[in-house]
C-alpha cells in the first residue's frame, strides 16, 4: 500500500513536469521572439515563410469546400473544377509554374479555420465570407475578393410571396452552422417577422425537404440558390416553379485567405487574384496570351510588358518567376474565363456578371497597377 502511494506520487510529479514542459513549448510557439532558439512548429510562422515551403514541396495544399456547385466539384476523372478550385490552380501556376500541382483538401465549414491555423493547408479558397471577426480574432488574412455574393431567399412561384416582408409565420429551410443562419435570424428579427427555421446538414437533404413541401422558403447564398434553381427537376415543375426574391439580406464577399503573419505569402495570393482581373482588363485570355506575348514590344506597351515579365530589370519583388502572371493566364485564364466557365450564364448556376464585373463596366473588380 505504502509502495503504491510512493509510485503514484512519482507518477504525478512526472506528469506535472511533463505538463510544465508542454506549456513552455506552447508559450515559445506563441511568442517566437523568446530567448530560446526553438524553431517554431508552424511553417507559416518561420522565417523562410510559406512561399519557400510550397516551392520546396512542389505542390500547393489548397483547402476547398466539400462539394459546392460551381465552386469546387470533383469530376468523374478525379480532377477538381469550379471557381474556387480554379483559384487554387492559379496560385499553383504562379508559384510553381504548374496549375496541376495542387493537393485539394476538402474542409467542412467548422474545420476550415482550424485547419488553416494548424498549417494543414497553405491557402483556404472555400467560399469564405470576409468579416471583421475572421480577419481579426480568427487570425486570417483575406486576399482581394474573388466573388461578391449575397444571401437571398427562394420561394415557390405560386406561393404569393413577393418579398421577405410577406413571409410572416412561414417555415424557412437553411443549412446549419453557417453565417446564413445568423443572417436569417437578424433579418427576420429586425423586420419583426415570426418564422420557424428548419436546419439541415447539407443542401441535398434540404432540397429533399423542399420537395416534400416542408419549407416555404429556402435561404442561402444567391449563387447556390441559382445553382439549385437552374437544375430544378422537371418532375418538380422545372426552374420556373421557384423564384428568387429580389431582397438581398447580406453582403458575402468571398475570397482566398491565408494565415496572418506571413505577408510574403499573403502578397503572392493577393496578386494572383489581381493578376486574373488585370488580365481581363488587358483583354488577355488563355487563348490569345501567347500571341500577345509574342507581339508585345516592351517599349511600346510597358504595362503589358511588365505584366508578362518582358521588361528587363522589372521585378515586383513578390518572390515569383518573371512569367508568373503569364503562367496564370495561359494555364487557368483570366477572371472572365474563370467566371464564365464555372458560374456564368452557360453553367447550371447561370449567374450574370452583375457586380462581379470590371470597374469599367460598373462592377467592383479593380486591379491596382503593375509597376
Amino acid at each position: 500500500m505504502k509502495r503504491s502511494i510512493r509510485i503514484a506520487s512519482v507518477a504525478i510529479a512526472a506528469s506535472l513536469v511533463l505538463a510544465a514542459c508542454g506549456s513552455d513549448d506552447a508559450a515559445d510557439t506563441a511568442a517566437p521572439a523568446g530567448p530560446t532558439d526553438t524553431v517554431t512548429v508552424d511553417p507559416a510562422q518561420t522565417e523562410g515563410g510559406l512561399l519557400a515551403a510550397v516551392q520546396a514541396r512542389g505542390t500547393l495544399i489548397c483547402g476547398v469546400s466539400q462539394g459546392l456547385p460551381g465552386f469546387s466539384i470533383v469530376e468523374a476523372d478525379g480532377s477538381y473544377s469550379g471557381f474556387d478550385a480554379d483559384y487554387c490552380k492559379a496560385i499553383a501556376a504562379a508559384v510553381l509554374g504548374d496549375a496541376d500541382a495542387v493537393d485539394f483538401v476538402e474542409l467542412s465549414a467548422a474545420a476550415r479555420f482550424t485547419a488553416l491555423q494548424a498549417g494543414e493547408i497553405d491557402v483556404l479558397v472555400r467560399n469564405t465570407t470576409w468579416t471583421a471577426t475572421r480577419d481579426g480574432a480568427e487570425g486570417a488574412a483575406f486576399a482581394m475578393t474573388t466573388f461578391y455574393d449575397g444571401q437571398g431567399m427562394m420561394v415557390n412561384t405560386d406561393s404569393g410571396i413577393d418579398a421577405i416582408d410577406d413571409m410572416a409565420n412561414t417555415t424557412i429551410c437553411v443549412q446549419a452552422g453557417t453565417t446564413t443562419q445568423l443572417n436569417l435570424e437578424s433579418t427576420f428579427a429586425a423586420r419583426g417577422l415570426a418564422y420557424t427555421a428548419l436546419t439541415f446538414e447539407g443542401n441535398d437533404q434540404l432540397q429533399e425537404a423542399y420537395f416534400e413541401g416542408r419549407c416555404d422558403g429556402w435561404t442561402s447564398d444567391l449563387s447556390q440558390l441559382a445553382a439549385f434553381r437552374g437544375t430544378w427537376p422537371a418532375e418538380q415543375g422545372g426552374s420556373d416553379s421557384v423564384k428568387i426574391l429580389a431582397d438581398v439580406i447580406s453582403k458575402e464577399p468571398l475570397g482566398p485567405l491565408v494565415n496572418d503573419g506571413d505577408t510574403e505569402w499573403f502578397d503572392v495570393v493577393n496578386w494572383v487574384v489581381i493578376a486574373t482581373i488585370q488580365a481581363e482588363e488587358f483583354g488577355m485570355t488563355s487563348a490569345n496570351v501567347d500571341s500577345i506575348r509574342a507581339a508585345t514590344n516592351a517599349d511600346e506597351s510597358p504595362e503589358v510588358g511588365r505584366f508578362l515579365g518582358l521588361v528587363d530589370g522589372f521585378d515586383p519583388g513578390l518572390g515569383l518567376d518573371a512569367d508568373w502572371a503569364y503562367n496564370i493566364v495561359s494555364q487557368v485564364g483570366n477572371y472572365e474565363e474563370i467566371y464564365l466557365r464555372n458560374v456564368g450564364p452557360a453553367t447550371p448556376l447561370g449567374l450574370p456578371r452583375g457586380v462581379n464585373s470590371l470597374w469599367t463596366d460598373g462592377g467592383l473588380l479593380y486591379a491596382p497597377p503593375f509597376r
Binding site: 503504491s4 509510485i7 508542454g22 513549448d25 506552447a26 510557439t29 526553438t38 524553431v39 517554431t40 512548429v41 508552424d42 483547402g63 466539400q66 462539394g67 459546392l68 456547385p69 466539384i73 470533383v74 469530376e75 468523374a76 476523372d77 478525379g78 480532377s79 477538381y80 493537393d103 485539394f104 483538401v105 476538402e106 474542409l107 467542412s108 474545420a111 482550424t114 485547419a115 494548424a118 498549417g119 494543414e120 447539407g202 441535398d204 437533404q205 432540397q207 429533399e208 420537395f211 445553382a227 439549385f228 437552374g230 437544375t231 430544378w232 427537376p233 453553367t347 447550371p348
Partner: protein
C-alpha cells in the same frame, strides 16, 4: 474417431410446411403477428428491390465508378492498383486456404459438422459475388472484366494450393502474408508511384481498414497480456493506455491527430502525413478495444490450463502462445470480428478531417453539373450503403463459418 462422431446428435431436418407451422403459426398470437408483419416485410422488400432494379438512376454510379473506388488517384497509374490487387489476392487466398484447411482438419478431428452445404455457400458468397457482378456491369470497357476474372482466379488458385502446403511452409504463412501486404502497398506508392495523400474512395477506406487491422490486432493482444502481467509497471501502463483510448471518442482523437498533434511534435521532427496520422489513430483506438476483448478471452481460460502447461515444463512464453492464447482467441472470435467490422465502418469519419473516402465522394458527386439538384444523393448513398453492408456481411459470415468449425460455443 468414428465413436466421437456418433455421439453428436443428428441434424434435424423438417419439411417447410412443418417449419412454418412450428415457427410462424404455433399459437393464435403468433399467427396474428405473422399475418401482420409478413405483408409489411414483403412491401418493404418489394419497394427496395423495385428501387434497385427499376426506379434508381444508376448513371451517377456508372459515370463515377472509378471515382468511388479510387478517388483522385491518377488514372494513368491504375495498373499499379491491379498489380497490388493481384498480390493481395495471393495473400488472402493463402490465408483463406490455410485457415480453411486447418480448421477443416480440426473440425474433422473433433467430429464437428463442416457446414458447407450449398445453401451456406450461397448465403456466404452470394452477396459479394452479386456486388462484384453489378460493379462490373457499370464498367464501360472490357478490361476490368478480364483483370477482375484474373484476380479472382488467382485468389481461388492460391487458396486451393494453400490447402496442400506442407507443414513447414504453413508456419511461415503469417510472415509471407505480412510481406505480401507490404509489397502490395509498395506496388502502389513505391518506385515513383502515387503518394497516399492522393488515394481516395474505397481504396483509402480499405487501406485504413486493412492497415489498422494488421497492426492493431497483434498490438491489442500484447496490451491484453500486459494488463494481466505480474509486473505492476507493465500492468499500469497497459491499463492506462487502454482506458485512455477507450475513453476518448474516435472523432476527438482524429481531430487531435489532425490539428493538435502538429503543435506538440518537436520542431525538428517533420510532421507525418495526414494519412499516416489518421492510420495511427485508428491503430491506437482499435488496439485498445481489441485488448479488452482478448482480456475477456484470457479470463475465460481456466487457471488449470496454465498449471497444466507449467506442469509440462513449458516456458511462460510457450504457455501463453501454445496453450492459453489459442483458447482465449477462439472464445472471442465474435467480438474480434465485430471490432473489425466496426473499424471498417468507423473509417468513414475521415471525411471530417478532409479525406476523400467512399462516403465523402458519395456526397460530393451529386454536385457535378450533370447530377446537380436532381436528388441523386439517394442513389449515391444507397450504393455506398450496399458496398458497406456487403463487405460487413461477408466478414461476419466468414467468421460464423470459422466459429462452427472451431466449435465455439460447444464443449
Amino acid at each position: 474417431m468414428s465413436a466421437t462422431t456418433s455421439t453428436r446428435p443428428p441434424v434435424r431436418r423438417v419439411a417447410p410446411a412443418r417449419w412454418a407451422k412450428d415457427n410462424l403459426f404455433a399459437t393464435p398470437f403468433n399467427a396474428l403477428l405473422t399475418l401482420i408483419f409478413a405483408p409489411l416485410v414483403a412491401v418493404v422488400a418489394w419497394w427496395f428491390l423495385r428501387f434497385l432494379a427499376v426506379r434508381a438512376r444508376w448513371e451517377i454510379v456508372e459515370t463515377n465508378l472509378t471515382l468511388y473506388i479510387v478517388g483522385a488517384f491518377p488514372r494513368d497509374q491504375l495498373w499499379r492498383l491491379w498489380l497490388s490487387l493481384a498480390i493481395l489476392a495471393v495473400v488472402f487466398g493463402l490465408i483463406g486456404g490455410l485457415v480453411g484447411a486447418t480448421t477443416r482438419e480440426a473440425a474433422i478431428a473433433a467430429g464437428r459438422p463442416l457446414t458447407t452445404t450449398r445453401w451456406d455457400r450461397v448465403a456466404r458468397l452470394g452477396p459479394p459475388a452479386l456486388l462484384l457482378v453489378s460493379l462490373l456491369g457499370f464498367a464501360r470497357t472490357f478490361t476490368p472484366f478480364v483483370l477482375t476474372a484474373g484476380v479472382v482466379a488467382l485468389g481461388v488458385a492460391t487458396s486451393l494450393l494453400a490447402r496442400r502446403l506442407p507443414g513447414a511452409v504453413r508456419r511461415s504463412v503469417p510472415l509471407i502474408a505480412v510481406l505480401g501486404i507490404v509489397v502490395a502497398l509498395f506496388a502502389i506508392s513505391g518506385f515513383g508511384g502515387v503518394p497516399r495523400s492522393a488515394w481516395g474512395g474505397l481504396l483509402i477506406t480499405m487501406y485504413y481498414t486493412i492497415g489498422a487491422l494488421v497492426i492493431s490486432y497483434p498490438l491489442g493482444i500484447l496490451f491484453a497480456l500486459g494488463r494481466r502481467s505480474s509486473l505492476p509497471m507493465v500492468r499500469w501502463v497497459c491499463g492506462a493506455y487502454v482506458e485512455f483510448f477507450r475513453g476518448s471518442p474516435l472523432i476527438t482523437l482524429l481531430f487531435t491527430g489532425w490539428l493538435v498533434l502538429p503543435f506538440f511534435l518537436p520542431a525538428d521532427f517533420s510532421t507525418p502525413t495526414l494519412v499516416t496520422r489518421a492510420l495511427t489513430i485508428f491503430i491506437l483506438f482499435t488496439s485498445a478495444y481489441v485488448a479488452e476483448i482478448v482480456r475477456g478471452g484470457l479470463q475465460a481460460v481456466g487457471r488449470g490450463q496454465w498449471e497444466a502447461a507449467q506442469a509440462l515444463g513449458l516456458s511462460p512464453w510457450k504457455q501463453t502462445r501454445l496453450i492459453v492464447l489459442p483458447q482465449a482467441l477462439r472464445a472471442v472470435i465474435p467480438g474480434l470480428v465485430g471490432q473489425a467490422i466496426s473499424l471498417f465502418k468507423d473509417t468513414t469519419l475521415v471525411l471530417i478531417i478532409g479525406q476523400q473516402d467512399l462516403l465523402a465522394i458519395a456526397q460530393n458527386v451529386t454536385k457535378q453539373d450533370e447530377f446537380l439538384g436532381k436528388g441523386y444523393i439517394i442513389e449515391s448513398l444507397v450504393f455506398v450503403g450496399i458496398v458497406y453492408w456487403v463487405a460487413s456481411y461477408w466478414l461476419s459470415k466468414e467468421s460464423q463459418r470459422l466459429e462452427v468449425r472451431l466449435g465455439v460455443g460447444q464443449r
